[in-house]
């Protein structure tokens, strides 16, 4: 089971700059490490993280194996309208997870 932790305010004033934090459980295996049998463990990373606000993309990140396991990203966004903030992670081995949080903008 994929576990995602998102920290976002539930309400915000219109025009306010809010901080959004997202963490996902993932090994971010680099593809450069030998395992216990001496063979290289194949790469398994999240390649892309995106955040959208009511369907409009506000952040897109391309990640590399140099991102620590259980990738954590914190960024900012202007609270424009009430609705849904969607976070999406995609990567190797068909990894795709999407999680949304609702926000009320007054």
């Amino acid at each position: 089971m994929t576990q995602v932790l998102i920290n976002a305010p539930k309400t915000a004033k219109k025009g306010e700059v809010i901080e959004l934090k997202a963490l996902i459980l993932h090994p971010m295996e680099t593809g450069f490490r030998p395992g216990t049998n001496g063979r290289i463990i194949p790469r398994n990373i999240i390649e892309r993280f995106t955040a959208s606000w009511n369907g409009n993309e506000i952040l897109r990140m391309d990640l590399s194996p140099a991102i620590a396991a259980n990738p954590f990203v914190s960024f900012f966004a202007v609270a424009t309208e009430s609705g849904k903030i969607t976070f999406r992670w995609t990567g190797d081995e068909g990894f795709a997870v999407e999680e949304s949080v609702a926000i009320d903008v007054a």
Binding site: F32, G35, P65, V73, F76, A77
Partner: protein, 155 residues
Amino acid sequence: MPGTTKEGTTRRTFIAGAALVSVLPFAPARATPEAMAAAIKEVVGDNAIREGRVTLDLPPLIENGNTVPLTVSVESPMSDADHVKAIHVFNEKNPQPHVFDARLGPRNGKAVIATRIKLGDSQKIVAIAETSKGEFFSASADVIVTLAACLEDLT
């Protein structure tokens, strides 16, 4: 006390040396300062890179290279006319020079990205910000890593 300082240095040097020796048999091909320069060139092209506006925040002494908190903040009004379009982070000595590329826009309000990265060795980290006006700003930080990431799987 002068004695303490000397001992401290010796111990640090020993640990760094021991870490290096244990890494060597497994060390894969590494990125080099040249590889980093090439990766930066790919992003920047022939544009000039200026120092300033970018703040790269990470601890100078890292005990565990597996998770290193890193924050990049760029001074910018983040308006439609003038905003940070992208933030790129590069390293010198991990197996690959790229760390991440983030695409931002005026909807971010603040050009700040924080994440956690892996570092395979003591090295220089470079952050480059690209503005909507086509300018490039950079900042760099030198870090010392005592326990490197990317070693054999201990689990």
